[in-house]
Symmetry: C2
Subunit: 217 residues, 2 copies
């Protein structure tokens, strides 16, 4: 994790891990706007000032959580596509992992990925939709997102080296997987997905979308 995202490394201490765990839970419960360090402090039985020793402000914490998610999902993707030869199968696996609600990864005791996924879907883009985006980008806060995008872009080129927009298609896969999920649950008339929680329909849509354009060129 990028050291400029925190003041004290939250993964190294008990309190730090409690901050991570419960901030995901509390953002899930309240939404990022109503989430405050004071409320978080109450939940974990610490103090506001205590949390400020780890994170400069709640926006940095959101960026940290988002970066953590993209790092983690990037690892999952690398790991699960590692021994796959066919780029087509790789891409399908990627679409699946990005679209489907995730089971808790037992490896990381301090973050519940099944809550992290909806948090990223609803709040993740707020990490970069700010006036500070360029400054934050210079500090490499979005590196895990960029790495994932690059990884997916390379699989796309493996499949079809003539395709002209591998990176844009990669970021489109990530974003579409997330906001179609949000729309399905909250603004369903913006989608064709009939049943809430049926993420397989998003997978079907994305597979059709992606392979249509990279099969053709």
């Amino acid at each position: 994790m990028n050291e400029d995202l925190y003041l004290r490394n939250p993964e190294e201490t008990e309190l730090g891990r409690r901050i991570l765990k419960h901030s995901v839970e509390l953002i899930y419960k309240l939404g990022f706007e109503d989430f405050t360090f004071k409320k978080l402090a109450q939940v974990i039985g610490s103090t506001e000032a205590g949390i400020y020793r780890y994170f400069e402000n709640k926006h940095k914490l959101l960026i940290y959580i988002t970066a953590w998610y993209f790092g983690w999902i990037g690892f999952q993707i690398s790991y699960q596509t590692n021994n796959i030869e066919e780029p087509k199968v790789k891409l399908q696996k990627i679409i699946n992992l990005l679209s489907s609600p995730i089971e808790d990864d037992k490896q990381t005791s301090y973050i519940d990925e099944s809550l992290l996924h909806p948090v990223i879907v609803a709040e993740g883009s707020k990490a970069y939709l700010t006036k500070q985006v360029s400054a934050n980008n210079k500090l490499n806060f979005f590196q895990p997102y960029k790495d994932l995008c690059s990884l997916i872009g390379n699989v796309i080129l493996e499949y079809n080296s003539n395709y002209k927009f591998p990176k844009s298609l990669a970021s489109t896969i990530i974003e579409v997987a997330h906001f179609q999920n949000f729309f399905m649950h909250n603004l369903s008339s913006l989608t064709d997905f009939t049943r809430k929680g049926k993420e397989t329909e998003i997978v079907e849509f994305l597979n059709d979308l992606v392979f249509s354009c990279i099969d053709r060129n």
Copy 2:
């Protein structure tokens, strides 16, 4: 415009129109997070309390502006595709209008669309990415977005009545047009667009994406 979005209709009074005009300018300048009614009041030479007579809070104002944008762009699309027969040409026109920075529409003196477009690109999704999305949706705050989505979905079906995901593809066109624009300007390594401000590259990408999948099915 949905009457539940405001306390007093801002389009009907001079002060109201000043609120709209300068809120777009100030959100463009400061970003939505740093935008406050107090700052806006200073800019327009009124008071905080004066603005609260028009809008309950700044989030309602953002929803209003977003709804206004989608209403306006929906009208532009209807108007400019009105006499076009070919659904293919219609869709291309739609992609163009959604992707390109917009010249100020002289018809609407109180809103500068050339500023509104980047504001929607950067801030628009915050209008619905909240815990109140379902409650707000019940009050039809997002109707103009839904109407636009439905309009585009119908053009897609005109082109190919067998395509399975017209609404999801429609919302994808809208969202992709906006966030690829944001990425191009702020996180360019997430795209393949080499030159900032070259929205024609986004148009090319989207045309390829859209027609690939609806040509095939």
